[in-house]
Symmetry: C2
Subunit: 327 residues, 2 copies
């Protein structure tokens, strides 16, 4: 089906005359007549009743009209999504179910009518994201580089928010009944976090976490998919993993898994946003303001070394207590 025919149909229905529709669309009346006829042939339904004064919608045409409008509007949005220079805000996240995406979704819902596209650059290498931001392929990327000095001069890294981690365990795990846990209580338990590249951002994070609390984290090895991880957790009495508190990952699983917050200090992963220094997308400012307005984490928070250099992004922590940083 040709969307041009749909546009023609909508215009003709609005004007009540093929003639006027043709004039407004810059084609001949005969062309409009044929477009409508072709549409009717394709749908096997008569959309207009022809009268000597113009055309009138049949019941089929009336039922079809709002759908046609919706499709035309959808095409407009689709085209606008890739139109260079004035396209919708486009933000790269690590996964559609990550805490990043959840925060992004909340922002989008708080701003009705905002055009926002979420993409996932399928690359392990953060330099790909940096290049995409620098080239303007995306307007911002939820990636971090551990060493900010390696950033090109036209890309800036901004602390977005800190994502607290939960321990995820199966029902037979000895920690399964705990309401909360402290990092020292994790000592001696195997924590399996597959699919982490050794020298990557997450690799460094888990390395530092292991050192700081003397934990046993298996971050190496390939990731066979979430299902494999879930199955292993559900059956195992001695394996746990760490997940972002706000992640939607692993949710639809039928396994009887438990999420247990880790507090005192809260283990938090600092999420950053890569943004271009020059010509940022006009809608980006609003999202950055939204990020700054997010509440901080309550209580003591542990962060990896690179996040301790600069102050936390959020204006105020949840509780009245002062935030304390822990080595």
């Amino acid at each position: 089906m040709d969307t041009e025919a749909l546009r023609t149909f909508v215009r003709a229905a609005e004007r009540g005359q093929l003639r006027r529709a043709a004039d407004e669309l810059g084609v001949t009346q005969q062309a409009v007549s044929r477009r409508i006829a072709a549409l009717e042939r394709e749908l096997e339904a008569r959309l207009f009743t022809r009268t000597p004064r113009g055309v009138e919608l049949t019941p089929d045409g009336q039922a079809f009209l709002p759908h046609a409008r919706s499709v035309v509007a959808g095409v407009e949005r689709a085209v606008a999504a890739v139109r260079r220079g004035s396209r919708a805000l486009r933000i790269d996240v690590l996964g559609l179910r990550s805490a990043q995406a959840v925060v992004l979704h909340a922002y989008w819902r708080s701003r009705p009518g905002t055009d926002l596209d979420v993409v996932t650059l399928r690359a392990d290498d953060p330099r790909v994201a940096v290049a995409a931001v620098a080239a303007g392929d995306v307007d911002a990327s939820f990636r971090s580089v551990t060493d900010p000095d390696t950033l090109p001069p036209d890309v800036r890294m901004i602390r977005a928010f800190d994502s607290p981690l939960h321990l995820l365990v199966g029902p037979r795990h000895p920690l399964a009944t705990a309401r909360t846990l402290t990092p020292p209580q994790l000592r001696g338990h195997r924590i399996w976090v597959p699919g982490i590249a050794p020298r990557s951002e997450w690799g460094d994070f888990y390395d530092q976490l292991t050192d700081a609390f003397d934990l046993r984290i298996d971050a190496a090895g390939p990731h066979f998919g979430d299902d494999v991880l879930l199955d292993a957790l559900a059956d195992s009495p001695d394996t746990a993993t760490l997940v972002g508190a706000r992640d939607r990952y692993l949710w639809p699983a039928p396994h009887d898994l438990r999420r247990i917050p880790v507090v005192d200090p809260t283990l938090a992963y600092p999420l950053s946003l890569l943004v271009p220094r020059a010509h940022p997308h006009p809608a980006l400012r609003g999202f950055l303001t939204h990020l700054r307005s997010l509440p901080g984490l309550p209580g003591a928070v542990w962060l990896p070394s690179w996040a301790r250099r600069q102050p936390p992004p959020a204006s105020r922590p949840h509780t009245g207590k002062d935030r304390r940083h822990v080595r």
Copy 2:
């Protein structure tokens, strides 16, 4: 833009290979390649990066994909809306802002995912609606015929619900400050209800209303549009009109108009639904059930003679009081 190209793009993005997409769509790989190329040329954006193993979405492609899906789904719904035999439930209302449409909208919102099309048969003659129902052009029509004996044997009339009337007056009208009014209090005030054909369903209604309460209702004369009516009401100290309590008509008006319920008895217009006796639309049953579940009107209710023959449709009135019919 060809929606077939969008479908092809979506399939190719899902499969990651033009080859597979081509196989599944029943065309050659070259055709798919050309469709994608044409799409990219039209959008002036590269949607895929070609690799020796297949194709991968670019950021533009990722941003475009959900929009393409949405358009394809919209086209599906549009086609389904006019597909004979299995199209969506289609109901005729007198106007998109009428109480009928409001009730219909509420029903649609209470049933997420229900496909429903609302049409308006542009005809004063109820026989057109009867014929449309009989022919299957619409599945139900919110019209009434005052004499059910004139209905063809294959069309049935069902009481839908009773729509209470409000008096609508301008700020300078002597009744403007009343919280509620009884029908006798309307006596002597001019009530202007333009655009009612003399022997029509509404004409009979206002005739009976005039007789029952000795009112002064001008129901004759042409209707110059809602704006004219609103302007007249806003300025006039002695003209009022009657509107359905749930109508969305006249709402966006900047005039300082007042809606005043008429009670004791409540003036109600009985709305009926014309439905085919044979082969009703499968989704119609749910809507009829919904109509029966609507609460009835509280207190005493006045109805025109033809609605008093059969019992009211709703199961129970709002209050505990018994419904009383008034002559």
